[in-house]
Symmetry: D3
Subunit: 238 residues, 6 copies
């Protein structure tokens, strides 16, 4: 039995609260069980210097964790004076994953910044962040389409993510913190609406894993992502 | 009429959601209208170096604002690599205000860190933060008393804060963002449960103010704080 | 008897040495007893980015303390790689206080930077800095008026500041370091030439203070500032 | 035809120059074609604070690139005052990959730091770095075994890495810079001596990839790594 | 004729004001004409980590310049978040020069920090700083000898410094800012009380200089330093 | 006998490997015995802001040391978040020395950055860096002349450098690390092709040195530099 008492292929309850805050062009609180991430999409009518004059837009992301989102208090990055390697790695991943699903030319010279701030952490914050950020992005783009600022939808596909891992040799889906800490292998999958891979990141924590184990993790993750994508669509229809 | 349509002496709806997150020893979401601040109290069984071996505890605070808590996105301080002057000023104020109400010797060699993170800003974030942080502190201390880790209560008084200001020459209470931006004078008051002053910070934004204007602001603020303190007590009784 | 042996309402000897250094457009060494602060005003024919093209000027301040201005050597902020919270708080206060007395539109697209560097500290450095910086500002503006670069005087009022506090329950004026360290309450007042308040910052260090105590501190401070403003005017007439 | 004119499954010439510098406990210049990375292993008889007293050792890595290792000069990270996100991500990967092959308890309270500095870049610097760092690590451990400082070999497996990608839909092995820039998908594989996966990181740069494409990339990479591991062993036997 | 109208071998008026500030163990304002540097010596009863337990002391220096010490305002290093290369170079030089004249073993486990802060700059700030810092050091050591904290004098020699340069081919002594800016060669000399060299730093600004030119600069500098050292001794006898 | 067993006036074997890396406009590995420095020249078609529109070019240098270039591993400056004082001092010296030999007007609005990265250190890295950087600069300029981008050669003189020192009272040439550590005096000389001085930096490490000792060091260094300059010319003729 896995620590969370869930079946190996069972997701945590997944919830999207749209309009969680009011100023942002998109604002979604995403929950994967006790993991709660506030994802906001902020629109600016300009692009970073390296894209000036190229007639395309940009999507970028920033990630943060409130100091006491975690079991033990984590020092505040703003106070330490820099973002850690883990933070930079995660925010690069989120931005890359979303850009893979957007036609930046169709976006025009606009930047959308997805801020993903973890209010409470219980494992899987990066996959929850990608999943929620896509919904916030969708909201912001829908507003541009509704306003007539955009004619064609630059979003080409739906994006969601989940973690999978091997716990005592058994593939399990959507690891919480306790499971993540004791898993032998930890993998994050990001997929599009057609079930294709946008990103795969797998790490052998305890011992290297075989090709067969990789295959079973991929199956499990793909099924989980299909369920999560249905939840995203349901949230957007509300 | 003031921009918020409230009467000059009318507070915004004030709400405390206790247990908003689960890991911290105290965790309160405080709302003053659309201003929402998550205040957590984190306990560590040690003190900063300058207090080592002095047999007393420490209370400190950190303040942050999510990038899109504001109308326009504010750059993330962790990404910029430092906390701004405003942030440092506010977190120093919060810590000072709470320490004024606590007997640090009675706390023993423990540190309580109050993290005040603004999820949504609409004026008065620092006074909301002080008000919410005191509730979170109260929760954390109550837990230590309940556990038997502390015998006597180190909290000597209740602490709450509110802003007051002069808007077109009229003293108004609990300014929202629109009011704060156009007020001629802006003052923050922190008071204890006996109506005594812990901190007063008043700034002439538009034009200097007279002693008579100061007096009327002090009256207004004192009345507002009494109401807020009743709300704090009610929240703690739930 | 207060530690400095002065009467409760007695200021320290206050001295202004104009032209203390020769390059700056305004340069004043201000002394409040053993507290000595060098205040220089530097003129630049441009404004910060957020004011570009708005047809107005800017006044800003920076504050520093030489490492051995204090009893114990304080680490150099340039070597530590950042300005501390206290420094930022003080320099924000100085800038705000001076701007409250200047018509920035009448200044034109110019920036005046007031550098306040503490050569020797014995309490009250921020109030001495504001008081000296106003004299340096006055010198710099007088030069612009004399040169014909300005036609109308942008300075609308005289600005001075002083500290007051409660020492063993007695209100005292212009605290030195020893008094400041043992006062129960510490308050800084900034006033204009008409006796109106520009800034009030009061903190209960030892125990919260009553409204009656606040009133007595305000009286004491207002009287002290009148004397200091007379000294400012005398220095400018030399 | 791929830009490098190589067959899809053809590696670049791979070369290891052992003892490239003389001070380090292990020192290897690894070349994958025009990509050249100097990998040194430095031994210190202590562990980082979080491992103090746990009776185990630590393996960590740092990555850097000389400013003109690249086609255009890249600003020096030391001069910019921080390591970029890409650098942190790569050095975390190198450290993680090597730790997966070492029994840290058998290493004793020692730290081995693998510095991987890119002298010349032509794509695949991170996989070359992992591959070379393992040889430098092997050298450093062999020295400890030869000295009698260690009795049992803490290295449990051989580690090598390679990049694979989809170029115009065709899976290709060991991408150079030109190929990497135009590939639709880019994947880095790290495997142990038994052909098991230590790390898999795949990113859809151009368009998402299917499970079948992933499978073909994994086959190609696994074959490449077998060849690279043979070259590592040959280098160590010299 | 040189810009300052002085004879080629003429020093500026040199003045030492001892006890310029009151907290430091040594405090001297040194003036070389319009160049004014405040040099304080601060004593701490400990040594930096790399000297712990070696039974010797340490002498170090820090250098700073007030923002408006110069003709144009220079950005404050504390605000920029780092000390510039010129600052670091100068403070390393001051520390090295003073250590060359002190028996660090005879000093015991104490650190003396010489802070050299330029209040007004008109060329030659580094040589003035060394010259003044030695007097402040002498004061601090004399106090330790007088107190009985030291039995034997750790200072082995007198240290002073001066700049020399080639101006239109003529060797000139003690350059002010205008001369320094237009000199072809600029050299700083630090010598001990016996006329031996502690440091020589010469730079061809305009064109390389010959050995004969170097010789004439050395003569000129040596004579200047003898006069400066007499002034140091006179100041200490007051 | 000196530690390296060389005669007092004997240089280490000096070697230049041109084209050591392929992307840079100039790229030279210079070796002085076991000291190995990679010097690259990078061309950019622009100048720093302070030279904009002045019709001249700029030459600058950066210096770095790989962490394990030294006997003990040195912390990586990029990871520490800043360049140390020694690094800044050396790179300022390299830039200054090269600029002294170049007519910046003849260079046009171009910047040449000389990156000097120490792959292995055994004393004399800064003098090796200057010596190698001049060869890399020569290569880059020759390419501009060959391309027709420049008509006249902006390089006015050949530049080389060497260290000299007093070891047990005997002047020795080109100190290695062991000699440098135990020398009483350490001097770096930079000279042009006509034997004139561009820079002289001498420091008394153990005891102050006399004028006679300085003279003998200058002789020794001048002879060494003549030999090194012959080696530079030979390398360029290959």
């Amino acid at each position: 039995m896995r620590p969370s008492q869930r079946r190996p292929d069972e997701l945590r309850p997944i919830r999207f609260t749209r309009g969680f805050t009011r100023h942002a062009e998109g604002s979604v609180l995403v929950e994967f069980g006790d993991t709660r991430v506030l994802c906001t999409a902020s629109l600016e009518p300009c692009v970073p210097p390296f894209l000036k004059g190229k007639g395309q837009g940009w999507i970028t992301a920033e990630y943060g964790m409130l100091p006491r989102a975690t079991h033990e208090r984590t020092p505040r990055e703003a106070a330490r004076g820099k973002q850690g390697g883990r933070t930079l790695e995660i925010q690069r991943l989120i931005g890359r994953a979303l850009r893979a699903a957007v036609d930046l030319s169709a976006l025009g010279e606009r930047t959308l910044t997805l801020d993903c701030d973890v209010l409470q952490a219980d494992g899987g914050t990066r996959t929850a962040a990608i999943t929620g950020a896509w919904v916030a992005l969708r909201e912001a783009i829908d507003r541009l389409l509704a306003n007539g600022e955009l004619d064609t939808d630059p979003i080409q596909s739906q994006v969601a993510a989940v973690s999978v891992g091997l716990y005592r040799g058994v593939p399990i889906l959507d690891l919480n913190y306790a499971e993540d800490s004791s898993a032998e292998t930890d993998m994050n999958l990001v997929m599009d609406g057609e079930g294709r891979l946008i990103e795969i990141q797998g790490t052998a924590e305890g011992h290297p894993f075989t090709r067969a184990e990789l295959d079973s993790l991929l199956e499990l993750g793909a099924a989980g992502i299909r369920t999560i994508q249905a939840a995203q669509r349901a949230a957007l229809e509300d």
